[in-house]
Assembly symmetry: C2
Homo-oligomer: 419 residues x 2
C-alpha cells in the first residue's frame, strides 16, 4: 500500500513558509507502518490541484492533502475536490454550529464569509476540526481514498490520528519498521567504510528488504535502519537483532538508540540521576535553553539560564572578572570557563553549559577568527572542560552547530565514568 501527500499553498512555492506539515504527516504515517512514496507541493491553483490529485491517484492507493481550505478567495481546494468527485456544496449543520460557536466565543460576528466554511461537498465524509473552522473531508473513488485536511499545522495535527485510522481501516498496510541510531564523533564516509560488511549482510537478508540511510544534521549523524515487507512479528525480531549488531559495531559513537535528540537524552539522564543544569550563553543567545525547554517535563532538571550577550552582562550578572575579559577577550577559553563556573553557583545547579563565540558576519574588533567558539561544561563535583571549535557558516547554522556541540559535550560529561 502506497500513500502520497499533496501540500497546497502558494506560500510553499515561493518559500515564504517552511513545509513542516509534510514531515509531520510522513512521520505519523510511517509510525503507523504506512509508506509515503511521493510528496507533491502545488500552488492555490485549481488546474494544478486537479492535475496533482489525478497523478497521485494514478500512482497511489490513498492521497492525503493539506491546505487551501480557508475562507478567503485564494483557497480553492474544496471547490476543486467537490467537482472532481461530482458533489454539491451543502451546508453541514454540525460544522455550522461549531463555526458559529467559535466566533461567538471570541465575541466576533458570524459573517457570510465564515458561514462558507460550513458548506461541504455532499459526496464526502467529514473529519471534525476541534480547533478551527475548516472540516477535513474523506472522498472514495474506485477503492482509493482522498483525504483533505486544513493547512494550519496545529489543526492538521489534531486531525491526523483520524486520517491515519481511516487509511488503516481501509487498507491492510505492509510491514515497515524504522530504527534510528544517533551517532557523533565520526564523519559520514568513515562510518560508511566501517559499515561496509554490515551493509552487505543487510542485502543478504530474506525475511524483509533491509536498508541503511545516513542523515547528517549540524555535526551529528542519524543512522536509520529500515525493514520493508514480510510478516510483522518475524521482521520486527530480525530488525531488533540487526539494529543491536549495528549499535555494537560502532558503539563508541552511539549517543541514542531511541530516535531521541541530544537534549532529550540529557534530560532523561539528569532526571534519572536527580541532577540539574543551567546554561550561560553568549553566541547561542538562548538557543540551548530553548532546545532543552522544548521537551515536556524540562522543569524537573532545568533551572534557568543567563544569556550574557554583552561583556557588561558577562561581568555584572555572571561575575566574569574584568581582568579575564580584558586579558583574554570575550571569546576565549578562560571566559567560557568562568561563565560556566559562575553560573553553576548563581543558579545552584549540578551542571552548567556555557558558550562564547563570534558568529559574525562582523568582526569583534580583535583578531579572533569569525566562526570561533568556546564551549565549557562545569560540574559541581568535577573539572570544567572547555573545547574550541570553528564553524565558518551562516549565523543560524553557526548557532545550531554550536548548540549541538555544546549539548554533546554535556552528554559526554554525563556519560563519563564518575570520579
Amino acid at each position: 500500500m502506497n500513500v502520497e501527500i499533496i501540500n497546497i499553498g502558494d506560500e510553499l512555492l515561493i518559500g515564504q513558509v517552511v513545509n513542516t506539515n509534510c514531515s509531520y504527516m510522513s512521520k505519523a504515517l510511517n509510525n503507523a507502518g504506512i509508506d509515503v512514496g511521493y510528496i507533491t507541493v502545488v500552488g492555490d491553483n485549481y488546474k494544478a490541484i486537479e492535475q496533482a490529485v489525478t497523478a497521485a491517484l494514478h500512482r497511489a492507493d490513498a492521497v492525503l492533502i493539506t491546505g487551501g481550505l480557508g475562507p478567503t478567495k485564494d483557497d480553492v481546494t474544496k471547490n476543486c475536490l467537490n467537482s472532481m468527485f461530482g458533489g454539491r456544496l451543502t451546508e453541514n449543520k454540525e460544522v455550522s454550529l461549531h463555526v458559529e460557536k467559535i466566533f461567538l466565543a471570541r465575541n466576533l460576528p458570524y459573517t457570510a464569509t465564515n458561514r462558507s466554511q460550513a458548506m461541504v461537498p455532499d459526496c464526502c465524509r467529514i473529519i471534525f476540526n476541534p480547533t478551527g473552522t475548516a472540516p477535513g473531508m474523506i472522498f472514495h473513488k474506485d477503492g482509493k481514498l482522498v483525504i483533505s485536511l486544513p493547512g494550519v499545522p496545529f489543526e492538521m495535527e489534531t486531525m491526523m490520528p483520524k486520517a491515519v485510522e481511516t487509511i488503516l481501516n481501509h487498507f491492510k498496510p505492509q510491514t515497515v519498521i524504522h530504527r534510528t541510531l544517533l551517532v557523533s564523533g565520526i564523519g559520514e564516509s568513515f562510518l560508511s567504510d566501517r559499515l561496509e560488511e554490515f551493509e552487505k549482510k543487510l542485502s543478504r537478508q530474506n525475511v524483509a528488504a533491509f536498508s541503511l540511510a545516513y542523515l547528517p544534521d549540524a555535526g551529528m549523524i542519524k543512522l536509520r535502519l529500515t525493514a520493508k515487507g514480510g510478516d510483522r512479528e518475524q521482521v520486527s525480531k530480525k530488525t531488533d537483532e540487526l539494529f543491536d549488531e549495528l549499535a555494537e559495531e560502532i558503539k563508541q559513537f552511539v549517543v541514542s538508540k531511541d530516535d531521541k535528540n541530544l537534549a532529550q537524552m540529557i534530560g532523561q539522564r539528569l532526571k534519572a540521576a536527580g541532577k540539574t543544569v543551567c546554561t550561560a550563553e553568549s553566541c547561542t543567545g538562548g538557543n540551548i535553553a530553548h532546545l532543552i525547554t522544548l521537551n515536556d517535563g524540562a522543569s524537573a532538571y532545568f533551572k534557568g539560564s543567563c544569556v550574557a550577550y554583552s561583556n557588561e552582562i558577562k561581568h555584572n550578572v555572571l561575575k566574569v572578572k574584568e581582568q579575564t575579559l580584558k586579558e583574554f577577550h570575550a571569546v576565549s577559553r578562560q571566559v567560557a570557563a568562568e561563565m560556566a563556573e559562575n553560573a553553576l553557583k548563581i543558579f545552584d545547579t549540578d551542571y552548567c553549559i556555557a558558550t562564547t563565540g563570534l558568529a559574525g558576519p562582523d568582526s569583534d574588533g580583535t583578531d579572533t577568527e569569525i566562526g570561533t567558539v568556546y564551549i565549557a561544561v562545569a560540574a559541581k563535583d568535577g573539572k570544567t572542560t572547555v573545547i574550541k571549535n570553528c564553524y565558518k557558516t551562516v549565523r543560524s547554522n553557526f548557532i545550531d552547530r554550536t548548540s549541538n556541540a555544546a549539548l554533546f559535550e554535556m552528554w559526554k560529561k554525563l556519560s563519563a565514568p564518575q570520579p
Copy 2:
C-alpha cells in the same frame, strides 16, 4: 518560464527531517523572478528519481534537484542522472584535489569511498562546492536544464546563486513581483471581508495578473500581493501603488511592509533609537532571546536574558519577592511585572520583555488553566504593561505563539506615541 524542484531523500518521506531546502530554494528563485510551479519529494530510489525527473522535464523548462549525492550506498542520484543523460563517470581532477584537501585538512585519510565523490558524469558541467565534497552538476537536454545540488542545506545554500545565475542566463524569465505585509490584531476572515473591494479591484487590473494570499503564522498573518507577467518596470510601479493602497486600507493592523519578521522590526527600531532590550523568560525558555539573536547585528541592542524556569531562580536571580510568588503564584500578572521590572534594572536596559506561563501538558499543582500565559513589557521611562493569553495547544506551538505575542507587545510599546 517554469521551474520545478525535486528534493531527494528517504529521510524526507518518513518525516525525520523537515524539508527546509525547498523553501530556501523557492525563495531564492522567486527573488530572482523565477516561478516555481511544482515541488516533488521522492526517496533515494533509482526508479522513483528517474520517473520524477522525467515528469518534471515534461512540464517545466528547468529542474532543480537536491540530495542523493553523498558517498554512501543510499545515494543514487548521480548514477541515475548519469544514465538518463547518457554520460560516463570520469574522475574530475579539480574536484579530486579539492576533496583530498578537505580530508588532509581534517587529518583524515582520503579513502576510496571519498575518492568516488570526484567521479563526475562527462556530459555535465560542474558547480564547485566550496564547503563540501559533492560537486553540483548542470545537464542540458532539448533546450531544457537539469541542475543537481547536494542535499546538505549549507552546501546547497552556497551553491544556489550559481544555479540561479545559470537559469537566468539560459532563459528570459517573466516578471514575478511579491510584496508582503505583516499584520496582527485581526483574524483571517475579517481581513478578507475588509479587503473584498480591494480584491475585486485587483482582478480588474490589466498590466499584470494580481493576486492576494493570506498566510497565518502563530497569531500573525502575512498578506502577500503577487503580480505576474507584463513589462517589469510598468508592473513594478503598479504593484507599489496597489501595495500602498492595501497597507493604507488596513493600516491599524500593519506591523511591517518589508517582509521582515517582528524581531527584525524591533531590532531596527531599537537600533535607530539607540535603545536596548533584555528578556526575562519562564515558559518561553529562552526562545525570545533566540529569535532576537538570530539577526545579524543583534548585539547593538540586545544585552542579555535571564531564563528563570524555576521559582528559585525567579527569586534568587530575578529578585521576584517571595511574597509575590506565594500570594499570586508564578503564573500571574504580578510575577510577570516584577520579572520585567527587575530584569530591566539587573541588565540595565531601556526595555524588558517577560513571560510566565503554563505550557503543560502537566498542571503546576495550582488551579491555573493549562495554556495560561502572562506577558509583561517594562520600559525605563514608562509604565509596565501586562497582558494575559491562553493558548491550548502543543508545547512547541505554545512557545511560538507566546514568543510572537510577546514580541508584538514589545513592538506596540515601541510604536506608541512617547509620553
